[in-house]
C-alpha cells in the first residue's frame, strides 16, 4: 500500500512538473540555507580552533600583573618572576607536562651582510614541549649549555630565511647585537597565528644566557605551563594561583599581582562565539524551511480541491479513509523530500564555493545533511496532514458530484 502510494505520488509529481518544482522551491532554499550556514560555520570554528591549538592547547601562561594605579597616576609594575618560581611550580604542582620560563628581548641578529630585527627568547627545552615546537634540523640544548648559559641558539624559520636564504645554518656563528652565538637548530614553521602574528620570527637561547649576557638581570617575564593530557587546566590554574599568592606574600582579600591565562578558555570563548553565530544563522535559515512547508500545504490544499472528483472515484471503488489520507500524505512527503534532496545538492555546491571564497575549510557534516533532510520530510508530514485529512474526510457522494 505504501509503495503504491509512493508510485502514485511520483506520477502526480511528474504530471505537474512545473507546479511541483515551484511547490518545493521554498523547501529547496530552506534546506540549502540551513546546510550552507552550518557547514560554513563549522569551517570557521575549525579554522579558529586549529589556529589556537597550534599554540598548544593545554597551555597556561603566568604573567606578572600590571600592578595598581597609584594616586598620582603613577603605575607600579608588579615584580617579575624568578627562576625559583619556575622550579617551585614544577616541584609543587601535580599534573604538569612541562614548565618553561620565558624571558624575551628584541634584538638585531646579524649574519654576514644581512641583519634582521627579531625577538630573542630565553628559555629551556621545556619551551619546545609547552609551545608545541618541533625541530626541523639540529638539536635541543644540552643540560650543560642551559646551566652555564652558553651562547647557542635555535632559529625560528623566518629568521633562518632572512639570514641564510637556503644555506645550511647549522654550526654557523651569528651575532645577537654584539654577542656571538652558534646556531644548533632550526624550528619547523608554524606560520601565522590567528592574531596575524608571525610565530616563526624569533630566536631561542638558554634562559641563563639571555639573562646574563643580553638583559643583564635575573628576571623571568612569563612562565609557560602545559598540563598533562586529561588534567583539567582549571584545577591547575587554581593551584598555581594559590602557590603564587603564597610565594609573593599576597594577603587574603588583596588582588593578585599576576594573572594566569588559560588557552583552553580562549579556545572555548572563540569557538563558542562562532558556534553561537552558526546556530543563529542556522535558525534563521530554518525559518525559511517553515515558510517552505506552508507553501507545500497551500498547494496540497489546492490539489485536494482540484481532485475532489478523483477522491470520490477512489472512495466509490473502495479506498478507505486512511488510504486516501496516506496517498496525499505520501505525496506531500515525496514533494518535500525532493525539495530536501535538491536543497542538499545546492547546499553542497554553495558550501564548497563559499568556503573557497571565505578561505575556511569545507567540512562535510553528514549529521546536518541528515537532519536537514529528515526535517524537510517532517515538514511534508506536518503540512501535508491537514490537506490529506481534508481529502480523507470527503463524503464520496458529494465528491462524485463535485464539478
Amino acid at each position: 500500500m505504501l509503495w503504491n502510494a509512493f508510485l502514485l505520488a511520483l506520477r502526480e509529481v511528474r504530471r505537474n512538473v512545473m507546479r511541483s518544482f515551484l511547490t518545493i522551491l521554498g523547501i529547496v532554499i530552506g534546506v540549502a540555507a540551513v546546510i550552507t550556514m552550518v557547514t560554513l560555520g563549522n569551517g570557521a570554528t575549525a579554522k579558529v580552533t586549529e589556529q589556537i591549538s597550534s599554540l598548544g592547547t593545554n597551555l597556561l601562561e603566568l604573567r606578572p600583573g600590571q600592578g595598581h594605579r597609584g594616586p598620582g597616576g603613577t603605575r607600579s609594575t608588579a615584580d617579575m618572576f624568578e627562576i625559583d618560581d619556575v622550579q617551585a611550580i614544577d616541584r609543587e604542582i601535580s599534573g604538569l607536562a612541562a614548565v618553561a620560563p620565558v624571558a624575551g628581548q628584541s634584538s638585531q641578529v646579524i649574519y654576514g651582510n644581512k641583519n634582521w630585527s627579531t625577538t630573542v627568547t630565553g628559555s629551556s627545552n621545556a619551551y619546545l614541549k609547552v609551545r608545541n615546537w618541533t625541530l626541523d634540523i639540529g638539536r635541543e640544548f644540552t643540560e650543560g649549555e642551559l646551566r652555564s648559559g652558553k651562547a647557542v641558539c635555535i632559529l625560528g624559520n623566518t629568521v633562518r630565511k632572512e639570514l641564510f636564504s637556503g644555506q645550511d645554518p647549522l654550526d654557523v656563528t651569528i651575532r645577537l647585537e654584539k654577542l656571538s652565538c652558534k646556531v644548533i637548530g632550526v624550528f619547523k614553521s608554524k606560520g601565522q597565528s590567528s592574531f596575524g602574528m608571525d610565530q616563526d620570527d624569533f630566536v631561542l637561547v638558554p634562559l641563563r644566557m639571555l639573562q646574563r649576557r643580553i638583559a643583564g638581570n635575573t628576571d623571568v617575564s612569563a612562565i609557560s605551563i602545559s598540563a598533562r593530557d586529561g588534567i583539567s587546566t582549571q584545577k591547575i590554574e587554581q593551584d598555581i594561583e594559590r602557590l603564587m599568592r603564597e610565594r609573593r606574600r599576597i594577603l587574603p582579600g588583596k588582588d593578585d599581582d599576576f594573572h594566569v591565562r588559560n588557552m583552553e578558555e580562549l579556545v572555548s570563548i572563540l569557538t563558542g562565539t562562532t558556534k553561537v553565530l552558526t546556530g543563529l544563522l542556522g535558525a534563521v535559515a530554518a525559518v525559511s524551511l517553515l515558510v517552505g512547508g506552508i507553501g507545500i500545504m497551500n498547494i496540497m490544499l489546492v490539489s485536494v480541491t482540484e481532485r475532489t472528483r478523483e477522491i470520490g472515484i477512489r472512495m466509490a471503488i473502495g479506498a478507505m479513509e486512511r488510504e486516501v489520507l496516506m496517498q496525499f500524505l505520501v505525496e506531500a512527503v515525496v514533494l518535500s523530500s525532493f525539495g530536501g534532496l535538491f536543497g542538499i545538492a545546492l547546499a553542497l555546491a554553495a558550501s564548497v564555493w563559499l568556503a573557497a571564497i571565505l578561505q575556511v575549510p569545507f567540512i562535510f557534516n553528514p549529521g546536518i545533511v541528515g537532519v536537514a533532510f529528515l526535517f524537510s520530510a517532517a515538514v511534508g508530514v506536518i503540512f501535508g496532514f491537514f490537506p490529506a485529512q481534508k481529502a480523507a474526510r470527503l463524503d464520496p457522494i458529494d465528491a462524485l458530484r463535485y464539478e
Binding site: M315, G318, A319, M320
Partner: protein, 245 residues
C-alpha cells in the same frame, strides 16, 4: 459463478443478493427535514438485471446510494448477501464496495490523464494485487468490453462510448457481486447507448453479473429483466419485464 447457470436456473435457485426492508432516509432535521425514502421494501436476487426508473426526486438515487453503501439508511434494514449492512462503519462500507460492488456513473468518472489500463487497474490496486496479475486482469477486462488495443489511451483520447466502456471494464474487473449503474447512457447518443446496453446485457447473461441500473429512458429499461418504478420515496410498481430476452 458458472456462466452456464443463468436465466431460468437463477430464478429456480434464487438467492437474495440485496434486501431492503422498510428502508427510509431523511435528510436534514425538524421542519427542514426532507424524506427521500418512505419505507422501501426491495429484494434483488443474484443474476437479476433490474432497471430503476422514476422522476427526479422520487428517491431512486438515494436508494442507489444506499444499495452502493455510499450512504446509510435512517431507518430500516439493509441485508447484503444476508449480512446486515445498515450499521457498518465508513471503513467497513469501503471494504464492502471494494470486494462486492462495481460502479458505473453517468459521467464515466475516469481519472484524467491516466491510461485506460491504469484506470481499470485502480480497484485491483486497492485489493493489493501484484502488478503483473493486475495488468493481465485489466487487459482481459478491457478486451471483454471491446477495447483491446486502446489500453494506453487516456480518457481525453477516447469517445464517450469508449470512456463508458472503460468505466464498465473498471467495474467488472473485480468480478463484483453486483454492478450498480447510474444512468450509464445518460451522456450518450442512441446508437452508443444501445451498444452499452448490449454490453451490459451480455455481462448479465454470460458472466451472471447482477445489475441494478437507474435510467430515465424506457428504451434502455427494456433491456432489463425487471423494472422498478419509484414515486415520492416509495416503490410504485415492480414488475418482471417480459420484453427482455
Amino acid at each position: 459463478m458458472n456462466p452456464r447457470v443463468s436465466g431460468i436456473t437463477t430464478v429456480l435457485t434464487a438467492r437474495p443478493l440485496i434486501e431492503l426492508k422498510d428502508v427510509s432516509k431523511v435528510y436534514g432535521q425538524g421542519h427542514a427535514a426532507m424524506k427521500a425514502l418512505r419505507g422501501v421494501d426491495l429484494r434483488i436476487d443474484e443474476g437479476e438485471f433490474v432497471a430503476v426508473m422514476g422522476p427526479s426526486g422520487s428517491g431512486k438515487s438515494t436508494c442507489m446510494n444506499i444499495l452502493g453503501c455510499l450512504d446509510t439508511p435512517t431507518n430500516g434494514s439493509y441485508l447484503f448477501k444476508g449480512v446486515e449492512a445498515e450499521n457498518l462503519s465508513r471503513n467497513q462500507r469501503a471494504l464492502l464496495r471494494r470486494h462486492y460492488l462495481g460502479f458505473v456513473f453517468q459521467g464515466y468518472n475516469l481519472l484524467n490523464r491516466t491510461s485506460a489500463l491504469e484506470n481499470v487497474e485502480l480497484p485491483l490496486i486497492y485489493r493489493g494485487m501484484p502488478a503483473g496479475e493486475r495488468q493481465a486482469r485489466a487487459r482481459k477486462s478491457l478486451e471483454a468490453v471491446g477495447l483491446k488495443g486502446w489500453e494506453t489511451h487516456t480518457p481525453g483520447e477516447l469517445s464517450g462510448g469508449q470512456q463508458q466502456r472503460v468505466a464498465i471494464a473498471r467495474a467488472i474487473v473485480t468480478e463484483p457481486a453486483v454492478l450498480l449503474a447510474d444512468e450509464p447512457t445518460g451522456n450518450l447518443d442512441s446508437a452508443r447507448s444501445r451498444e452499452i446496453m448490449e454490453l451490459l446485457r451480455a455481462l448479465n447473461h454470460k458472466q451472471s453479473i447482477s445489475i441494478v441500473m437507474v435510467t430515465h429512458e424506457l428504451d434502455m429499461a427494456a433491456y432489463a429483466t425487471r423494472i422498478v418504478r419509484f414515486m415520492d420515496g416509495r416503490i410504485e410498481t415492480d414488475e418482471q419485464n417480459g420484453e427482455a430476452d
